[in-house]
C-alpha cells in the first residue's frame, strides 16, 4: 500500500515537473533571438524577406508568445507533440522512428558497462594492490576523463581506418544483401564501436564504485564469519559480498540513465547513428522548437521511468528497502 502511494505521489510530482520543464524550455527557446525561419532560409542558401514572413506565418511564429504557448500545451495534452518545421513531418512519428536505434545503443551500452564494470570492480577489489588492479584503475580513469567524441574518433581511426574491422558510420550497410543473419551480423558490426565508446564512461564509474564498496564489504564481520565457517572464496565473494555491494551501483546506474541519453547525443553524432541524439542535436541547431520540446519531453519521461525501475530493482536486491520500521 505504501508502495502504491509512493508511486502515485511520484507520478503527480513527475507530471508537474514535466509541465514546468515544458514551459521553461518553450520560454527559453522563445527568448533566443532568431527562429526556425532563419535556419530554413540558411538551408536554402538565402531567401527573400517575403518568403521568410510566409514561413513564419505558416508555422504560427508571428503569433504572440502566450498564444503559441497555449496552443502547444493544448496539443501536448492531446498527446500530440506537434509538427516539425524542419523535417516537415509529425514530431511523434519522428521520435518513434528514431527511438529504437537509441534504445538499442543505450541499453546495450548500459548493460555492457554494468556487467564489465562489476566484473572489473570485483576483480580489482580482491587484489587491491596487484598490478592488474592498478591497470583497471588507470583504464577507469582514462575512460571517465576522455571526452566521448574523442574516444569515438580515436576508435574510428584505429579500427575502421587502420584496420578495416568495423564500419565508420550508420547502423547498417545499405549495400549488404542477404537473410536475417547476414543483416544481424552487419548490425552487430556497426554497433561495436559506438557501444564501446558510450559504455567507456559508465564502465569507469561502475568499476570504481563496485571496487570501493566491495572492499568495504569484504572487510566486514560477516565475511570473516563466512570465512570462519569454511565457505569457499567463490561463494563468499559472489553470494555474500557481491549482493551487498551491488545496491549503490544499481542506484548509480539508474541515476546515470539520463547521462546515457545525453552521452548518446555525442556518440550518435560521431558515428552517424540514426537515433534520438542525432535528431536532438540537429533540431537544436535548426531551432526546430517542436522537435526539441518533443525530445525533451520524451527524455524526461525516460528518466522518470528509469528512476522508477531503479527503485524496483533496489527492492529486489535489498529487501530491507521499502519495509516498514
Amino acid at each position: 500500500m505504501a508502495f502504491l502511494k509512493a508511486v502515485i505521489t511520484r507520478t503527480l510530482y513527475a507530471a508537474l515537473l514535466l509541465a514546468a520543464v515544458l514551459v521553461l524550455n518553450f520560454s527559453m527557446m522563445h527568448l533566443a533571438p532568431g527562429d526556425v525561419a532563419d535556419t530554413i532560409s540558411q538551408s536554402m542558401g538565402g531567401a527573400d524577406a517575403a518568403v521568410l514572413e510566409e514561413i513564419r506565418k505558416d508555422y504560427g511564429l508571428d503569433q504572440p508568445f502566450l498564444v503559441q504557448l497555449g496552443s502547444y500545451f493544448n496539443k501536448v495534452l492531446h498527446f500530440d507533440l506537434g509538427y516539425s518545421f524542419f523535417y516537415n513531418t509529425s514530431v511523434t512519428g519522428l521520435i518513434m522512428q528514431k527511438l529504437p536505434a537509441t534504445l538499442l545503443l543505450v541499453v546495450t551500452a548500459q548493460v555492457l558497462a554494468l556487467f564489465v564494470g562489476i566484473v572489473l570492480g570485483v576483480y580489482s577489489a580482491r587484489n587491491p594492490n596487484g598490478l592488474s588492479s592498478h591497470f583497471v584503475s588507470i583504464l577507469a580513469l582514462f575512460g571517465y576523463s576522455a571526452p566521448v567524441f574523442w574516444t569515438g574518433i580515436l576508435l574510428l581511426i584505429g579500427f575502421s581506418l587502420n584496420v578495416h574491422w568495423f564500419p565508420v558510420a550508420g547502423m547498417y550497410d545499405l549495400t549488404v544483401e542477404g537473410g536475417f543473419f547476414v543483416k544481424l551480423w552487419d548490425l552487430i558490426r556497426h554497433m561495436v564501436l559506438p557501444v564501446i565508446t558510450l559504455s567507456s564512461i559508465f564502465l569507469a564509474l561502475y568499476s570504481r564504485l563496485c571496487r570501493a564498496t566491495m572492499m568495504e564489504v569484504l572487510g566486514s564481520d560477516y565475511i570473516r564469519t563466512a570465512k570462519a565457517k569454511g565457505l569457499s572464496e567463490r561463494e563468499i565473494v559472489y553470494k555474500h559480498a557481491l549482493k551487498n555491494s551491488l545496491s549503490p551501483v544499481i542506484t548509480l546506474a539508474g541515476l546515470q540513465f539520463s547521462a546515457v541519453i545525453s552521452g548518446a547525443v555525442l556518440v550518435e553524432t560521431v558515428f552517424s547513428w540514426p537515433g534520438l541524439g542525432t535528431l536532438a542535436f540537429q533540431s537544436i541547431i535548426a531551432r526546430d522548437t517542436p522537435t526539441i520540446l518533443g525530445i525533451l519531453f520524451f527524455s524526461a519521461l525516460v528518466v522518470i521511468v528509469g528512476n522508477l525501475l531503479t527503485d524496483l530493482a533496489l527492492r529486489f536486491v535489498d529487501p530491507r528497502i521499502g519495509r516498514k520500521g
Binding site: 532568431g34 532563419d38 532560409s41 531567401a47 523535417y87 565508420v168 545499405l174 537544436i284
Partner: protein, 524 residues
C-alpha cells in the same frame, strides 16, 4: 578579334579531338551502386519549392530541368531539345524532347512546364529567378513559350541545374500546398534520370535507375545511395576506407589536404563555378559609426593580409576572391583594386577619415560577429590584424545561426564574417547584396546597408541586357565600383571540393557540380 576567334576555334577543335580520344579510351560501364553522401538532412526532395545544396543533389537526379550546362558555361539541351530567345528578348520558346515521361509513365508536356514555373514563382525562395515571367503559353504538347515583361538573360541559368525542376502537374497540382506536399518526401514522381526508392530522415536517400529516361542508354548507374553523415571527420574516414565512393561540398582545409594524400582518392575544386560560394568580411556601410565611412572600410581592407587567410587559414585550398562575383564566373572582373597589405596606407586613410590615434594607441572600437564556429579563426585574425592600425575589435559570438541571422538581418553589427553563394547568374545571388532596394531584408540581403545610385542603375540595366558583351561590361563597371567602396571585403572562394575514388568515372564536375544530373557518372 578575328585571330582570337580563330584561335578559339582551333583550340576547341583540338579539345574535341582530345576528349573524343579520351572517350574512346574509356567506355562508360553500365550498372553498379554508387554510394555517396549528403552533409545534412534535406528538408524535402523537391527543388521547385526548396533550394539548397542538400536538396539539389537528390533533387537534380529526380527532376529534370529544361537545360544543362557544360563546364564552359555553355547551355546544352536536356529536357528541352532546343530553345530560342526572340529578338526583343521577351519570348523564350522551349521545344521539349518528344516521348519523355515522368516516373509513373505520364508524358511530360508543356503544361507541366507551365505548372512548374508557376509553382517555382510562388514557392521558391529565389524570387528574382522568374520575377519577369508574366505567363507561359502552351501552343502544343511539346512547345512552351515563356513570356517576359522585360528581357531576362538570367533565365538561361535559372532553367538549369536544380533551379527549374519540371514537376508533374497531375501529382503536385492536386490542391495541396506545394511547399508541404506529402509527395515531396515520399512516393516522388519525377522527370529525371533516377527515381526515388526511399528517403529516411537523417539516414539516407536511395535512388534507382529510371529505365524510361528520355536520354536513351542513360543513366549508367543502377542505384545511388546517398547516406546522410553530418560529421565531416566521419565522412572523411568513410571516404578513406572506401565506404563512400564520392562526396561533394567538402570545405574544411584540414580534411581536403589530408585526403589529397590518400591513394585511390581524387580531390578537386572543380564543379562549383555556378554555386559560386564566397567568403567575405561584411562591413556595415549604412552605419552611423566608423564603418559608414568609405575611407575606414578601405583602411580595414588594407590592414587585412589576404595571403595570410589563403595560406595559413585556408591552407592553400582556396582561390582568391577579389570581387562579389565568383572567379569562375564568365562575368568576373579581375582587374580591380585588390588591397594588398599596406599598413601605412591604412593608417593614413584612418587619419584622413578623422580618427586619429589616441594616447593609448587606439582609434575606435568595433564589434565583429560570426554565424558558425568554422569561421572563428578568420574572425580572430581580423581582430589581431586591425589592432595593428589602432582599431580595437571585440568578437561577439552568437549562440547559434538564428541569433547571428537576426543581428545581420536587423543590421545590428559593425563587422561580420559571412559566406554567400552566387547561385548561377548574378541576378540571383549577387544583386541581392548590393542593390539598395534590398537593404535589411533578412540574412543574406543587402545587410551592409550599401547604397550607390550608379550601382543600382547598372544592376537594373544588367538584369535586362541581352547582349552578353554589353552585359559583361556592365558587370565589370559594377565590380570596379564595389571594390572601390568595399561594403564587403572579399577574401576567398569557399574551398568546396569534390572527392571521388578511382572507381568513379565521369564525376559531376560541371558548373553545377552535384546540383546537376549525374546520368553520365559510372563505376569502373
Amino acid at each position: 578579334m578575328k585571330k582570337l576567334i580563330q584561335g578559339f576555334l582551333a583550340a576547341s577543335a583540338l579539345a574535341m579531338v582530345f576528349t573524343s580520344t579520351l572517350l574512346m579510351a574509356e567506355e562508360p560501364k553500365k550498372g553498379g551502386t554508387l554510394v555517396t553522401v549528403l552533409g545534412s538532412n534535406p528538408r524535402n526532395l523537391n527543388p521547385a519549392v526548396q533550394s539548397g545544396i542538400v536538396t539539389g543533389y537528390p533533387g537534380a537526379q529526380l527532376f529534370a530541368a529544361p537545360l544543362r550546362y557544360d563546364e564552359n558555361w555553355t547551355p546544352q539541351p536536356y529536357l528541352a531539345e532546343s530553345w530560342k530567345v526572340s529578338d526583343d528578348g521577351l519570348k523564350v520558346t522551349l521545344n521539349l524532347v518528344k516521348g519523355a515521361t515522368f516516373h509513373d509513365g505520364h508524358p511530360i508536356t508543356s503544361s507541366d512546364v507551365k505548372f512548374s514555373v508557376k509553382v517555382i514563382q510562388e514557392n521558391h525562395p529565389f524570387k528574382s529567378m522568374f520575377a519577369p515571367v508574366t505567363s507561359v503559353d502552351t501552343p502544343d504538347d511539346h512547345t512552351a513559350v515563356i513570356n517576359l515583361s522585360r528581357p531576362h538573360p538570367a533565365l538561361m541559368l535559372a532553367m538549369s541545374g536544380q533551379l527549374m525542376a519540371i514537376i508533374p502537374e497531375h501529382i503536385y497540382g492536386d490542391g495541396q500546398k506545394p511547399k508541404s506536399h506529402p509527395r515531396n518526401n515520399a512516393n516522388v514522381v519525377g522527370s529525371g534520370p533516377f527515381k526515388l526508392v526511399e528517403f529516411k530522415n537523417g539516414e539516407h536517400v536511395i535512388l534507382e535507375r529510371f529505365d524510361d529516361f528520355f536520354i536513351k542508354g542513360r543513366p549508367y548507374l543502377d542505384k545511388i545511395i546517398m547516406r546522410i553523415i553530418t560529421d565531416p571527420t566521419a565522412r572523411a574516414i568513410a571516404l578513406e576506407n572506401g565506404e563512400l565512393h564520392m562526396a561533394g561540398f567538402e570545405s574544411l582545409p584540414r580534411i581536403i589536404n589530408r585526403l589529397k594524400k590518400v591513394k585511390g582518392l581524387n580531390v578537386t575544386p572543380e564543379g562549383y563555378g555556378a554555386i559560386g560560394p564566397l567568403d567575405w568580411l561584411a562591413m556595415n556601410a549604412g552605419s552611423k559609426g566608423p564603418t559608414g565611412n568609405v575611407k575606414v572600410r578601405q583602411a580595414i581592407a588594407y590592414a587585412i593580409d589576404k595571403n595570410f587567410i589563403l595560406k595559413a587559414l585556408m591552407q592553400g585550398t582556396a582561390t582568391e576572391a577579389k570581387t562579389g562575383i565568383h572567379p569562375d564566373s564568365p562575368f568576373y572582373e579581375g582587374d580591380v583594386n585588390n588591397y594588398a597589405l599596406d599598413l601605412d596606407k591604412s593608417n593614413a586613410l584612418l587619419d584622413e577619415a578623422g580618427f586619429p590615434k589616441k594616447a593609448d594607441g587606439t582609434r575606435f572600437g568595433l564589434t565583429i560577429d560570426f554565424g558558425w564556429p568554422g569561421v572563428k579563426p578568420q574572425v580572430e585574425y581580423v581582430k589581431a590584424a586591425l589592432k595593428k592600425v589602432g582599431i580595437a575589435v571585440t568578437v561577439r559570438a552568437s549562440a547559434d545561426f538564428p541569433t547571428w541571422a537576426k543581428r545581420m538581418g536587423s543590421m545590428d553589427f559593425d563587422l561580420s564574417w559571412d559566406t554567400v553563394f552566387n547561385w548561377g547568374d548574378p541576378v540571383i545571388g549577387v544583386h541581392r547584396t548590393y542593390i539598395s532596394s534590398n537593404i535589411g531584408k533578412g540574412v543574406w540581403s543587402n545587410t551592409q546597408g550599401y547604397k550607390n545610385a550608379r550601382v543600382d542603375e547598372i544592376l537594373e540595366m544588367a538584369a535586362k541586357e541581352s547582349d552578353p558583351a554589353k552585359r559583361k561590361a556592365l558587370y565589370s563597371e559594377f565590380q570596379k565600383i564595389i571594390t572601390e567602396e568595399v561594403p564587403v571585403y572579399w577574401t576567398n572562394a569557399l574551398p568546396y571540393h569534390t572527392i571521388y575514388s578511382d572507381k568513379v568515372g565521369n564525376p559531376p564536375l560541371g558548373i553545377w557540380g552535384t546540383s546537376s544530373p549525374i546520368d553520365m557518372t559510372y563505376l569502373k
